[in-house]
Amino acid sequence: MERILPAGETPAIEQDRPDGPGRLAAIVEDNWTSVYMLLFSMTGRTHDAEDLTQETFLRAFDRLDSFRPPARMRSWLLRIATNACLDLLRKRKRSKSVPLPDDLRGAAELPGFRLEIAEESQRLRAALGELSETARAVFLLRVQESLSFREIADLLGSTEQAVRWHMHHARTRLLQRMRAGV
């Protein structure tokens, strides 16, 4: 469980790693892929994923003193990333420009990559795009990031029971879509 430090306490980063000068770069190096992949899977667009990933790290650096072990840095970053992403998707929904998963070139363009995996990937991504933002986030945080339901509930400011319900919904819909071949 993450703890928010009261103002004025020693920033955790100094306790966590005495070699401070390299810490920011190390944080980026260790967590970039997780954050980027989550945001790409959530938005379906590489430029959104790129912008939001940068935004996530900048926001995190801005609030480093609110993080300290035993909270996991990755979970903390994923929380910031998820909030930033949900904000963006909700804003888009309000302005009626719903993002489409139109930037799915990753699988198809890998040279020599198996066609069936590429096709299945496309189907899965398309099916994922049809889920609600929260169900999508729950599925990705659990399957892609291996977070526990407890951690996901904390991260989304929800309850474990609600997370279970969203997972139920996500799995049911994805299985239906996959069976139907989307």
């Binding site: 190390a26 980026v28 363009e109 599925f139 139920h168």
Partner: protein, 306 residues
């Protein structure tokens, strides 16, 4: 227990694979009920399929660009007044590249060490399962079980394992407990068939992530399971006089799995680098042998009937 309740449990489970946290009545039902077992398999496959979905090209490039900006100037961090700490700016400017290398190196060493420890435990558990199935008598199985079970349980409770490895290790531990109380070659072959499926899926995931070492290791385990866990038990089952309809159905299911696995192995072979193809070719050979033997047997049966 009703299927509806079990299926709801599976759809809401943190881990749809059965492990030690699965309530006993659910686990028992899933093992006995083909529909619920099918759903469990579909859910596991869905997650594996998602893990095989490749990321978009350009993530690494974007990271490098961001790190360069961090190292080169204070501008990305200082772009807003939200960053009051001068220290942050100094950190960015101070030899990020060398410390980045140090951080990355440490991370890689730790990850590699964890992965090896996990491989070691799973390897030992696979061996243990195979030793159990190879043991001919109940007393021998009890001895093999008692010698290692406690040590594995304790290793599993303290080891730091990636989730997919933990789940597999847990399943192997439970399979060991099952093997000590059941001596039924067809059912044992069926269980090793499910295990081979999981190992193959994990090998595919490792291959898709470009981890050839891990893929090879998993395929070596897969091949051992094919040879000693499945083939041997199929031969035993066929040689026994206890091959009723239910047991025959289990063996037929294994034969269907052969075709499916051959297809998956062929795809894996296409995508694998040359050095990593040896174990795949061995697995394909083992499957082909089985298919050949099965069709010879079928032909003989048809001749005898004719």
């Amino acid at each position: 227990m009703k299927c509806r309740r079990v299926q709801r449990w599976l759809l809401q489970a943190e881990n749809p694979r059965l492990d030690s946290r699965t309530p006993a009545e659910i686990a028992e039902h899933v093992r006995a009920c083909p529909d619920c077992r099918f759903l469990k398999r579909q859910l596991t496959k869905l997650e594996e399929a998602w893990r095989l979905v490749p990321g978009p090209a350009g993530s690494e490039e974007a990271k490098r660009a961001f790190l360069d900006r961090l190292a080169r100037s204070a501008s990305p961090v200082a772009r807003s007044a939200r960053l009051p700490r001068r220290r942050v700016l100094q950190w960015c400017a101070a030899s990020a590249a060398s410390l980045l290398a140090l951080g990355t190196g440490t991370w890689l060493v730790v990850s590699e060490r964890e992965a090896r420890a996990a491989d070691g435990l799973v390897d030992q558990l696979v061996d243990w399962n195979l030793d159990l199935t190879l043991a001919q008598s109940e007393s021998e199985r009890n001895r093999v079980y008692a010698r290692q079970a406690e040590r594995f349980r304790s290793a599993l409770s303290t080891a730091s394992l990636p989730e997919e490895q933990r789940s597999l290790a847990q399943e192997l531990l439970e399979n060991g407990s099952w093997l000590v109380t059941h001596q039924d070659p067809a059912a044992e072959a069926d269980r090793f068939g499910s295990l081979s499926e999981e190992l193959l899926q994990l090998a595919q995931s490792a291959g898709a992530r470009g981890n050839a070492r891990r893929m090879n290791k998993l395929l070596r385990q897969y091949n051992r399971v094919l040879e000693s866990g499945i083939d041997l038990n199929v031969q035993r089952a066929e040689a026994s006089n206890a091959l009723d309809g239910k047991r025959r159905a289990k063996l037929d299911r294994l034969a269907l799995r052969d075709a499916d696995h051959l297809q998956q192995l062929a795809s894996l072979w296409e995508a694998a680098p040359g050095a990593a193809r040896k174990e795949i070719e061995r697995a394909v050979g083992l499957h082909r042998d089985r298919v050949r033997k099965a069709s010879q047997k079928k032909r003989k049966g048809m001749k005898a009937e004719g």
